[in-house]
């Protein structure tokens, strides 16, 4: 590609495949897949972030620095209903104060009512951006996101019961690598079909009655495996079936917000802000579906999630289901998380035999 722009969005689950597609096919710039998050990412991020800002901001900052080091020159940030709304501006200010040179595409700047403002902001990424091309790439991008979410849901339900360890991981990794190279809808469809079949062919030993656990929590922490210390993997090791509704498909593409408000009506009559209502509704849904436990995963100080905690405790009482709260910050110890999960598992086992 001729463009000398290297765009990068912070690491967020496996969605970089989708971002790559829209930037390379829609905006016609290069996309730099952010380096995977490591301890160093978090360390750098916490060092340059304010003290008690929520952990996702620290991850984003760490990712930005590592992306800049890897050669990115166009960074971006989305907006949301909580502190996320201000992420972009503050991140840009901090990085500029550090002396980095880059373009910053901040979605909070866009006035979505005016097409002119949208186009103007898109031009930050590529001065020759064409809305037509972006419009054409968007449906495929959405399709990629949906495929990712579908695959991950399937894996989540079955990975705990695989006969040969690590097989799901291997197939999925292969799939992601190939997904990163597709050019059009046709290829996506073929890939989807091929690997969906491959996933189903993996031998599993799933009993009729399994221990089901529901994961709820704030947008970033519950989705990005590094920020919750690979909790889903840890849970799968205990042979649990994991459920999680929070992903891009269920929030932005097919918003379940109104449905969530209805489900959680008994506990919260109004919009709690950001992911609050989703958390409450998902917890109720899992409880009704016969889950053995619910785990709330959130970053320390997450504004909307804190206010759902008393509500979740009431849900726990009413449906007689244990709820475990996890607050992650930059200094949470891995062993501590493991110990708590072990205790949680033991408790669920003990309740089963009662």
């Amino acid at each position: 590609m001729e463009s000398d722009v290297y765009a990068c969005f912070p690491q967020w689950a496996n969605y970089s495949c989708a971002f790559r597609f829209i930037f390379e096919k829609g905006f016609e710039v290069n996309y730099l897949t952010p380096p995977p998050i490591t301890k160093r990412t978090l360390e750098i991020g916490s060092k340059i972030s304010p003290d008690y800002v929520c952990a996702p901001f620290k991850y984003c900052m760490g990712c930005y620095i590592e992306a800049l080091e890897a050669g990115a020159n166009c960074l971006m940030q989305i907006f949301g209903a909580c502190r996320l709304n201000y992420y972009g501006e503050l991140a840009e200010q901090i990085l500029r104060d550090m002396g980095y040179k880059f373009n910053f595409f901040n979605m909070a700047n866009i006035d979505f009512k005016s097409p002119k403002s949208i186009l103007e902001n898109f031009k930050v990424i590529n001065p020759n951006a064409s809305l037509v091309k972006i419009g054409m790439a968007l449906p495929v991008t959405i399709k990629i996101v949906k495929t990712l979410d579908k695959f991950e849901d399937f894996i989540r339900h079955n990975v705990g019961f695989e006969i040969n360890d690590g097989e799901f991981d291997k197939v999925y990794k292969e799939f992601l690598e190939k997904l990163n190279k597709i050019n059009n809808k046709k290829e996506l469809k073929r890939l989807n079909k091929e690997y969906w079949k491959k996933l189903h062919q993996i031998p599993i030993n799933k009993p009729d009655k399994t221990i089901k656990v529901g994961l709820v929590g704030d947008y970033y922490t519950v989705q990005e495996p590094f920020s919750n210390y690979f909790m889903e993997k840890e849970l799968a090791k205990f042979g649990m079936e994991i459920y999680r509704e929070m992903n891009l498909t269920n929030t932005i593409i097919h918003s379940k917000f109104k449905k969530s408000l209805k489900t959680g009506k008994k506990y919260a009559k109004h919009n709690l802000g950001a992911t609050g209502n989703y958390t409450v509704a998902e917890a109720i849904k899992f409880a009704k579906a016969g889950a053995s436990g619910i785990i709330q995963v959130k970053s320390f100080g997450c504004m909307p999630e804190i206010d759902t905690m008393p509500i979740l405790q009431n849900v726990s009482k009413d449906y007689n289901i244990p709820v475990l709260h996890f607050s992650f910050d930059s200094q949470t110890s891995e062993t501590g998380v493991k110990t708590r999960l072990e205790a949680f598992y033991d408790m669920i086992e003990a309740r089963k035999h009662k």
């Binding site: 304010p50 709304n85 972009g88 501006e89 200010q93 919009n271 905690m309």
Partner: protein, 304 residues
């Protein structure tokens, strides 16, 4: 019917408006007492550990009111002056219902969900309908209450302008949310210590809201929260006429955690100190920090 108003959070912003409204509507109300140790301790026990200090204070006040009145008045405000609010003000009624579920208190609230100029009036009208008050009476009461609040704020802002132009002492701008600086138990200590150190406290929150919000756009363009916009704008308004700035926040305030960082980065040629308070603070630590802050201000003044 008796309504209980907790002396916490938005009371410090809209106190005059609320009390006048209920006076005009001839509805009896009681106010919870000034925050004290007992209320904070009770609130901390009731709240989630991570919750912010104002929320803990709020829960303490609500508990004090339960049993002493028929309804507890907790408005729910999503938008104010055209911008959004911290999510805490969105979830407050539901949070209180869930926290005190065993005692099942009745909550009275007006609910501003739309970002429009008439949003507040419509919400009040709806609340009055719930209370069985005629529409005309509700409108009259609303107008009187709104004007009272408006005059009160105007008077406060003018007083501050006079103080700024007449005072020859060290002038310190205190940037804090209304519910932090207004609450004597939280912000009162800082005001007392500043007085002892012979400084005049200029309170950012007293400045005209609309003017400040417009000014804030030049400092922080995409800042989403009304109250933080107000405070940032007030810094821009007063910055040339004060000797130092105190950013007074409570732990762990979500919005302030980001905005303070921005302010510190934007205003580099004026002394700034960030004071973070929580429920267990004695005043000795604050005293030492403020003393040294005053020294810095004096040093800077002498140098120039």
């Amino acid at each position: 019917m008796k309504i209980g108003i907790p002396r916490a959070m938005l009371y410090f912003k809209n106190g005059k408006f609320w009390t006048t409204l209920f006076d005009e509507l001839k509805i009896e109300y009681i106010l919870s007492p000034e925050t004290n140790k007992e209320i904070i301790d009770r609130g901390s026990k009731l709240a989630i550990d991570e919750a912010c200090l104002p929320e803990k204070v709020m829960l303490g006040h609500v508990e004090w009111l339960i049993g002493k009145c028929d309804y507890i008045f907790i408005p729910r405000i999503e938008y104010c002056e055209g911008y959004e609010m911290c999510t805490r003000f969105l979830s407050l009624p539901d949070l209180i219902v869930n926290t005190f579920r065993e005692k099942s208190p009745k909550i009275l609230f007006y609910n501003i969900t739309k970002n429009s100029r008439k949003g507040e009036y419509k919400a009040i009208k709806k609340m009055c309908k719930f209370l069985g008050i005629k529409r005309r009476k509700a409108k009259e009461a609303y107008i009187v209450a709104k004007q009272t609040q408006g005059y009160f704020e105007m008077f406060r802002a003018e007083n501050q302008e006079n103080l700024l132009s007449s005072s020859h002492k060290n002038k310190v701008l205190i940037v804090a949310h209304a519910y932090n600086i207004g609450d004597k138990y939280i912000g009162g200590n800082v005001l007392r210590i500043l007085k002892e150190l012979d400084c005049d406290a200029i309170i950012a929150e007293y400045a005209n809201a609309q003017k400040c919000i417009n000014l804030s756009k030049s400092v922080a363009k995409t800042l989403p929260w009304t109250y933080n916009k107000h405070l940032v704008g007030a810094i821009e308004l007063y910055k040339d006429r004060v000797d130092g700035i105190i950013l007074l926040t409570t732990f762990p305030c979500g919005t302030d955690s980001m905005v303070n960082e921005m302010v510190v980065r934007k205003y580099k040629d004026i002394p700034i100190v960030v004071l973070t308070l929580d429920s267990q603070d004695g005043s000795a630590g604050i005293e030492t920090r403020l003393e040294s802050f005053v020294d810095i201000m004096n040093f800077k003044k002498g140098e120039m």
